[in-house]
């Protein structure tokens, strides 16, 4: 745990320059008063929790203040931390042993970080002794295949790719067949970015999902939505639409090393029950970390350098 914490710290410090663990007091006053609640609202909304979630949290805290007779903002801050942490499920451990190959589909809107995440995951899994294959099923965006290929070469991971504009489902199919015959442990399928409102593209994604199931019954064993942490309220719509289309099983929050706090994770957890699995804390393979809700909540509560 301590080790994990320090990695988060590093990731955040690089750009955020915030002092981890020593969180400046959030509130101007030391006694709780009406301004305190306004300040709290401002903090949570600005961390992209959304006004609805923010109001729920404030209600919960107001209750605690009465019940526990809290008077100091410092006490409130601790209560806030507890409430926020309790709203996120502990990160489940992923079981890699029951399927071979285990097929993981990465989905998300344009530019969210899918390809980079595929590479990062591949690197991390291979470090634990698993064999990994990357499937470049983004045949649409210019040079998307090359992008994953470069990562594969750098990290020594095999990549199965189709021709530009080839059927992405066919690429996924080939990759899985190849993984079966090569006795690979894990297949990571990188898909093209698509806005969740685009009917045809969501249909295409469903097809990839179906075809993966044909290549290997039971697959995909996991569908992970890569969500850019700088996203605002739209994140919930994205998560809903992708979940409906391809049964997303978990969220990866990318670009948490930016100045954004990723507060939409709360609404997504709350209304869709989707756990946050990993956090992207930089562009390098080692910058992907197992999601840590304590560190994440600290990131929301700490004062920004700006």
């Amino acid at each position: 745990m301590a080790d994990l914490f320090s990695k988060w710290k590093e990731g955040l410090e690089k750009t955020r320059k915030a002092t981890f663990g020593r969180i400046a007091t959030l509130f101007g006053a030391t006694q709780i008063n009406s301004d305190t609640w306004d300040e709290l609202e401002a903090i949570l909304v600005q961390a992209d929790l959304g006004i609805e979630t923010t109001e729920e949290i404030i209600q919960a805290l107001k209750q605690r203040v009465v019940q526990e007779g809290l008077t100091r903002t410092e006490e409130l801050q601790n209560a806030l931390r507890e409430v926020l942490i309790s709203r996120l499920d502990p990160t489940p451990t992923i079981d890699f042993s029951s399927h071979k190959p285990m097929v993981i589909l990465l989905v998300g809107v344009n530019g969210s970080g899918k390809t980079t995440t595929a590479a990062k995951l591949g690197w991390q899994f291979s470090r634990t002794g698993k064999t990994v294959l990357l499937a470049a099923a983004d045949t649409f965006r210019a040079a998307a295949v090359d992008q994953l290929q470069v990562w594969g070469d750098r990290l020594g991971l095999p990549v199965i790719a189709g021709q530009p504009n080839a059927d992405p489902a066919a690429v996924a199919f080939d990759a899985i067949q190849s993984a079966i015959s090569r006795k690979i442990d894990i297949v990571l399928v990188d898909t093209a970015g698509r806005l969740h409102t685009r009917y045809n593209l969501m249909e295409e994604l469903k097809k990839i999902h179906r075809v993966v199931g044909k290549a290997l019954p039971g697959a995909p064993h996991a569908v992970w939505l890569v969500l850019d942490a700088t996203t605002g309220q739209n994140a919930l719509q994205q998560a809903k639409a992708f979940k409906e289309a391809v049964h997303v099983t978990g969220i990866i929050l990318s670009k948490l090393d930016s100045s954004a706090r990723g507060g939409m994770a709360f609404a997504i957890q709350q209304s869709l029950g989707l756990p946050i699995l990993y956090a992207g804390l930089g562009e390098k393979p080692e910058d992907l970390q197992v999601f840590n809700r304590e560190a994440f909540v600290n990131g929301i509560l700490e004062k920004n350098g700006q």
Partner: protein, 440 residues
């Protein structure tokens, strides 16, 4: 998921219909809703605060006009203020010594490379001689991405391996000058505004190249941080414009307001798709409606007004009120809808929930359905259209044959028509005034 602002305000004002002036309490109630709408649109917390107090001042005591109910009146003020804040679209700074150097900057994945290609295509089609510069040596295959796009739009891409971006851009400028290019577009790597090393790199480029336009490319789905991102970039370089991308989704795009009102940087373009032709000059009114979650209500009303002659509109409204709406009117409406333009375009303009639902409709499918509906109605006699109750089984069979459809299709249409009739009645009760009934 979200109720539209209009709906919420209609609720607040159901009891206030007959008042002349807006009282402070009325305005308070409305401003609470406006505030929520703006926060849900990702407008920055502090910007919302200022905005709301500005509108508040204007709204208290404002005369309620005859034509609008109080809710519509306040919306109009909010809408006007938003438009004012968003400002007129501005064109690129293309006049002056050639080549004009444009630079695209922004966070990772915001859409810079795509926007570079889109701009190249646009300017080329206007007769400029354009050179693209691949100044992102960091992201794997970023250069290849730009080269591929450059080939697609027929614009050469300048690149030299292992040359740091500032020097690369200086060399590109030299090349552009000697080669007689009129515009040079630099695609830079994505970066966080807090990354000092990479921000200095941007500054270094501007010191080596006389940059005419520095455009910040922002993903329209971005949340509250948009403000700090824009401020951070503006501190490092002299931003001259904003491009909001991925506007083809259902994000409300409130970041545009935050950025514009705090930095004063004008909005220049919108990215509306992955294709290299999906670049639009933005329209302040449409964007304001979108941020308010009203769809393009204004645009829709205007379009409808153009297509609808007023007499028919009034007659039909009256008919609906009295529940005397017939399939004949339905047919009339269908013709009006068709005059509005391609269905796909109309679906896109729908507000709120309706708009979200419409996005999941396959436009081709909808177009087919519309054709089918028309065929069925055309196969009815006038008497049948005026009095659908007489449509017995044998008449329905005849109509199906005549329109080349199945009896089930005819049944479905009649059922839909009944439901529409019911809907109009409830709409009438809840006061859906002002909106022409487009969707019979």
């Amino acid at each position: 998921m979200f109720e539209t602002l209009t709906q919420r305000l209609e609720q607040i004002f159901t009891n206030l219909r007959r008042r002349g002036k807006l009282t402070e309490q009325d305005v308070d109630a409305v401003m609470r809703e406006v505030r929520l709408a703006l926060l849900e649109a990702d407008v920055h917390y502090s910007v919302v605060k200022d905005f709301v107090s500005r509108v508040r001042e204007r709204a208290v005591g404002a005369e309620v006009s005859q034509a609008l109910n109080p809710a519509q009146q306040v919306i109009k003020i909010v809408h006007e203020e938003l438009i004012k804040t968003l400002g007129e679209p501005q064109w690129l700074n293309l006049t002056g010594p050639k080549p004009r150097a444009l630079m695209l900057v922004g966070l990772q994945g915001s859409g810079k490379t795509t926007a570079a290609a889109k701009l190249a295509r646009l300017l080329r089609s206007q007769g400029e001689r354009v050179l693209l510069v691949a100044a992102d040596p960091y992201r794997p295959a970023a250069v290849k991405q730009l080269q591929t796009l450059g080939e697609k739009v027929g614009v050469p891409v300048f690149y030299e391996e292992k040359v740091p971006p500032p020097l690369l851009c200086a060399k590109a400028f030299d090349h552009a000058q000697k080669g007689g290019y009129s515009v040079m577009i630099m695609d830079t790597a994505g970066r966080s505004q807090l990354d000092d090393a990479l921000m200095s790199e941007l500054k270094a480029i501007t010191e080596k190249v006389p940059v005419a336009d520095i455009l910040l490319v922002v993903d329209s789905m971005i949340g509250q941080e948009a403000l700090h991102v824009a401020q951070g970039f503006r501190q490092a370089v002299n931003l001259t414009g904003l491009i909001m991308t991925k506007m083809d989704g259902d994000s409300r795009g409130g970041a545009a307001i935050s950025i514009r009102s705090v930095t004063g940087v004008p909005i220049k373009f919108l990215g509306t798709g992955e294709g290299i032709d999906a670049l639009e000059v933005y329209d302040p009114s449409r964007l304001a409606s979108r941020i308010l979650g009203m769809g393009d209500v204004i645009g829709l009303i205007e379009k409808a007004q153009q297509a609808y002659d007023e007499k028919t509109a009034r007659e039909q409204a009256e008919k609906m009120m009295s529940g005397r709406f017939t399939l004949e009117d339905f047919a009339n409406q269908l013709r009006q809808v068709k005059k509005l333009g391609p269905l796909a375009q109309i679906l896109e303009m729908l507000p709120g929930q309706l708009g979200q639902a419409a996005k999941m409709v396959d436009p081709k499918d909808a177009e087919r359905q519309l054709k089918m509906t028309e065929a069925i109605i055309n196969s009815m006699t006038r008497e049948e259209r005026l009095n659908p109750d007489i449509l017995n089984a044998s008449r329905r069979r005849r109509i199906a044959r005549g329109s080349g459809t199945d009896v089930q299709d005819v049944n479905r249409l009649i059922k839909q028509f009944r439901e529409a009739q019911k809907l109009f009645k409830t709409l009438q009760k809840t006061g859906g005034r002002g909106m022409p009934n487009l969707f019979g």
